[in-house]
Amino acid sequence: MPVGSVLFAFVIGALICVVTGANPIAAYAGLVCGGLGIGCTQGENPALQISNTIVFFIPLVTTGVAVALPFRAGLFNIGAEGQLLAGSVACCAIGIKFADLPAPILLPMVLVGGMAAGAIWAGIAGVLKATVGAHEVVTTIMLNYVAQWLVRFLIVGGPLELAPGTSKSHPIGAGAQLPTLLPADNSVIIFGLPASVFRVHSGLFIAVVAAAVFAFLLWRTAFGYEIRAVGQSQKAARYAGVSVRRTIVLTMLIAGAFSGLAGAVQIAGVDHNLTDKFFNDTTGFDAIAVALLGLGSAVGIVLAALLFGALHTGGAIMQSDAGISSNLVLVLQALILFSIAANFVGAIRRGLPFGRRASPELPTELPPAAGLMTEAAVPPPGKT
């Protein structure tokens, strides 16, 4: 029960508040107001808070899927961040190079380009796993660094830099930008604020479709069955005629495409250029928590991404309204992850019969985090 993990984290978070002399009720009221726009007392605009939460929610869903899919094949993709960055870079490069093309041509180009770059980035790890058995945890982590430094190289004195010392790229062309849901116009007043304040953009639909595609692929296609077969037991899958190597490579390619799409959508929908914020972006790492908390199901990922998006947005409000450092949010996120990793989930699922029914697809004796351990013990495929 992931809900138990979340509650566990919030109880410990409340204890931390109390012990440090802060008011946990005020803290959580600030979080709820900031994240969901409910019960605001200090003049926050509820619509704006929800809009901000959705902006953070969008990339978390798509990268969450990119972690969850390999997970079903028994692969631990720590590289969603690197794949996201690769997608951002490709989107930016294309969006700058062909800035004058009209949106119907350029927008698909930047999104598909981002997917392709993410797929290649993850595909490297997939091919290495399938051929020489290099562990994907190690290779994807390393590829994260390569991507981060590549971004640095490109925009700090590199070919994409706007001007020396600016540490950001040129903006992408207008045709490469995803439209916001509300008009990006300072003079139109909606919900009592200039409409351009609401940054929620049409990438929302892309994220929801990505989650749906993930569910369809996994449960309604032959390839999805192969992914799950490989994830349950590589030996059994091989015995049943499934090519384990092909499944591993394809799974990583698709996962990378999802992450790359997340990066492209972030550039096209929100940032419109590569900036130094991507040096320490953590979306792809939060995605691991989202995928684990969502138990690797599409609905679960959407809900978990909503929680993490709301926590992110709520943290700043909590700091200004309740005077409690927004670092508490990071503590809460870490505690959620900790309680999952520490197997509270499994313990509860074993104890409660309805937990079993809620997610029949996961082997009860192998909760998500344990997958990493067992996978590490499995010899590289194709060597036996």
């Binding site: 919030f10 200090q42 010392g165 600016t166 950001k168 200039p194 304040v197 700043a316 670092n327």
Partner: protein, 344 residues
């Protein structure tokens, strides 16, 4: 099995969620005008021992002097700049302060959306995505004459060389910049100008690490300068520059810190060139409280106490102190003007 205990924990948590849903009623108005000031840090956070910390110091000082409500939001990532600025703006804050040039584009965007809210940005302007100043009538840029601060530490370096009080006394000093951009070069310009004024036979080595964050890169440039005989090194490279201070410490030569007082960074730090972000923040708040907000650039220099120097791990000789006071007075009076561009 511990699930019963966990279930109990869950019940407790659920109860807490319900109580918090009913709680959270605070606030209440005050009859007289309380100015609301919002400060948004960049990703360095309040404990960066530099810009963000100093901005908060200025805010705290303003809190004791004026009737203001001061709130701070720490940005966890670049994604937070716009939402944090926007939140203060939607709540009708009287002044929203962004710390650092990283927030230029965010301030440009949000100030356009809220033309009735006053914004101030330290070391930057409200720009569009191409870095062009939008010149919004509600944005004040708080800039610094870095060359003033650079000149003061340049006096120290030049005086030590001329009077044989440095470690090697080969009449060679160095400056390590991050990237060759205006604020960095202003510091170095003042430093080189003043060092040459003190000691005409001095050689000032200038190098760039092309980096603001990696101490190893700056350490490399510093070591090269030390090998060329430099025994006073001025770092103008942010976090990267810590490598300069440490390299100087290892080689037993002197170093000079930048932006904030870097006395504690390394025992080799004899002085620091200061950008007084606290003074700038305080002044911006004071102007708003006195109804004197002005759009455009407000420059902080030695004359108005917005730039200066600190003497750190050095017993300052009386003659040097006198020289520093003399030069400082001349810069204040306008008799001397440190150059903005690095002299030949």
């Amino acid at each position: 099995m511990g699930h019963k205990r966990l279930r109990f924990l869950g019940v407790v948590a659920a109860a807490m969620v319900f109580t918090l849903a009913c709680g959270g009623t605070t606030g209440g108005g005050t009859p007289t005008k309380t100015y609301k000031i919002g400060l948004v840090t960049d990703i360095g956070g309040l404990n960066d021992k530099s810009f963000n910390h100093l901005a908060d110091v200025g805010l705290e000082k303003a809190k004791t002097d004026f009737k203001i409500q001061a709130d701070v939001k720490e940005s966890k990532s670049g994604d937070d700049y716009v939402p944090n600025l926007t939140d203060f703006a939607t709540k009708n804050y009287d002044l929203v302060i962004g710390v650092g040039f990283l927030m230029q584009e965010a301030v440009g965007t949000v100030s356009g959306q809220f033309p009735n809210i006053h914004f101030a940005i330290i070391d930057g302007a409200g720009t569009d995505s191409k870095g062009t100043d939008l010149k919004h009538s509600n944005v004040q840029s708080l800039f610094f004459k870095e060359q003033d601060a650079g000149a003061m530490v340049g006096v120290i370096a030049g005086w030590l060389e001329k009077n044989g009080k440095a470690k090697k006394n080969k009449h060679v000093v160095g400056a390590v910049g991050g990237i060759s951009i205006p604020p960095v070069n202003h510091y170095i310009a003042g430093y080189k100008w003043a060092a040459k004024m003190e000691d005409p036979s001095i050689q000032v080595l200038v190098g760039y690490s092309n980096n603001f964050t990696d101490p190893a890169k700056c350490a490399g440039v510093a070591t090269s300068q030390i090998n060329q005989g430099a025994d006073v090194l001025f770092q103008v490279a942010g976090g990267c520059g810590l490598g300069v201070l440490q390299s100087a410490g290892k080689a037993s030569v002197y170093s000079i810190g930048v932006d904030a007082d870097q006395k504690d960074a390394d025992p080799s730090v004899i002085a620091s060139a200061l950008k007084k972000v606290d003074v700038a923040t305080y002044t911006a708040i004071k102007n708003v409280v006195n109804n004197q907000f002005q759009a455009g650039a407000l420059t902080f220099e030695i004359k108005n106490g917005g730039a200066g120097y600190s003497v750190d791990n050095l017993d300052l000789p009386a003659e040097l102190k006198a020289e520093l006071d003399k030069i400082e007075g001349q810069i204040k009076s306008g008799a001397l003007t440190p150059p903005a561009d690095i002299p030949a």
